[in-house]
């Protein structure tokens, strides 16, 4: 029997992440792919977005022509402030993470290990100039760290691995991984399957990942 399934698009992964964000949550969306989650937050609930550069209550992009470059997100794109929003300095911003006040952060990743180690800041190539930004603080500080990424590399290898081979961002910090093929939980007990795209069986997924999956 041949199985056919369709990968979730980036927007569909963002939509899947957004489904799990609950009313009243304080959330930081990392730069890159996670930014799209903001476009899919459930209607009718209040979620407060944090930006590492000192914003709570961050709103959507401004209308063209009303950009204010003193009001930007962590990716340096212009944003807006919702009524009730607040500004604060960098030490307070990172205290929100490290102090466990931030409920959820969503980050991109190169690799996640089955026990939740995260590698997302550096490929370790000798010529690459390393840059870390707020990734390590977010990963270890938020109450829940979720990762959003494609499951496989371009050459078809699983980015969910037994042990990360790329330099680590944090140890045992990722709780959930949202991918184009499946959603999984990781932790001390290893991987647990939450869902797969239609047409992809748990066994077939396990073959792709090459690690044991609990139901």
């Amino acid at each position: 029997m041949t199985m056919t399934y369709t990968r979730r698009t980036k927007d569909q992964i963002a939509q899947r992440v957004a489904q799990d964000i609950y009313a009243g949550a304080y959330v930081n969306l990392g730069i890159g792919m996670p930014t799209a989650v903001a476009n899919h937050l459930p209607r009718g609930i209040e979620v407060i977005l944090q930006s590492e550069n000192g914003i709570l209550g961050m709103g959507p992009a401004p209308a063209p022509g009303s950009e204010d470059y003193d009001l930007i997100n962590a990716g340096k794109q212009p944003v807006t402030l919702l009524p009730g929003g607040a500004f604060f300095h960098h030490a307070d911003s990172f205290a929100m993470m490290r102090g466990g006040h931030l409920d959820i952060c969503v980050l991109g990743a190169f690799q996640v290990s089955q026990k939740g180690d995260l590698a997302n800041w550096h490929t370790g190539e000798p010529d690459a100039i390393p840059a870390v930004g707020g990734a390590m603080d977010l990963a270890t500080g938020a109450r829940q760290t979720w990762v959003m990424m494609d499951l496989l590399t371009k050459s078809g290898e699983s980015k969910i691995v037994r042990e990360c081979s790329y330099p680590l961002t944090g140890l045992a910090c990722v709780k959930r991984v949202y991918t184009d093929l499946a959603t999984l939980e990781c932790g001390p007990q290893g991987l647990r399957l939450i869902d797969t795209v239609e047409g992809l069986s748990p066994d077939a997924l396990q073959t792709l990942i090459g690690l044991p999956l609990r139901a």
Partner: protein, 233 residues
């Protein structure tokens, strides 16, 4: 009479020495004290250690300071950007030293210097390359890394409004590193767009009390320009 308002950038920066550690505010496009950085280039101090979140964009500001060969070492969290070509070239040819620090540790190390804290244990960076070789400790079942303060001889920051006592308020996300850098340097120079009479700033809303500020320079208001990151990493 206390009057921290200086007539111009040059007057506020005349005592900067070679080898100084300079804290420079700003994150992306917001809060970069461009006029003060230009003043530092003109002032001529060399062999500087610069602390900033990034390592310069394009060919102006911090990038121009780097290009002028004044910087020995950069302490930052995110040097690599789409337009960090000046830093990239200096780094690759070994002409500038880089100390890469996770952004929250960078902020807390600056805050610690300003608050007289000798060192602190932070969970950020534990078990990673950036925590390698550092003292660690288990506290209540969690692992931490010992980090030391980063103090400045000089801080250059951008605020919105000041009075002659040096009290400051900021504008939107341009606040970022300003308040903690003001605390952490022996000599803090703030550029502002407006100087108001003593008592005109709401005391409930002053963000940086004047005790942390030694000099204020008024500069013309120009819209903060687009730029910085062209693309997220």
């Amino acid at each position: 009479m206390i009057d921290k308002i200086f007539p111009g950038v040059a007057a506020a920066l005349q005592d900067v020495r070679d080898g100084a550690t300079v804290l420079i505010g700003g994150f992306g496009t917001a809060g970069i004290p461009g006029e003060l950085i230009d003043g530092l280039i003109e002032q001529g101090a060399r062999d500087l250690t610069v602390v900033n979140n990034n390592a310069g964009n394009g060919d102006h500001g911090l990038a121009a300071l780097l290009k002028a060969g004044r910087v020995r070492k950069i302490i930052c969290s995110f040097p690599r950007q789409a337009d960090s070509q000046v830093f990239d070239a200096l780094y690759r040819s070994g002409r500038v030293e880089l100390e890469l620090v996770p952004q929250g540790n960078l902020a807390e190390r600056i805050r610690a210097a300003g608050a007289g804290i000798g060192a602190f244990f932070t969970p950020t960076g534990y078990g990673t390359e950036l925590g390698k070789g550092k003292e660690t400790r288990e506290i209540d079942g969690r692992m931490y890394v010992l980090e030391y303060p980063i103090a400045g001889d000089l801080a250059l920051i951008k605020a919105e409004r000041a009075d002659r006592w040096g009290n400051l308020v900021y504008r939107k996300a341009a606040r970022n590193f300003g308040p903690i850098m003001a605390m952490a340097a022996r000599h803090t120079v703030a550029s502002v767009h407006e100087v108001v009479a003593l008592g005109a700033l709401d005391p409930e809303a002053i963000v940086t009390p004047g005790i942390f500020v030694q000099a204020v320079v008024q500069v013309p208001r120009t819209a903060t320009q687009a730029g910085g990151f062209i693309q997220a990493a």
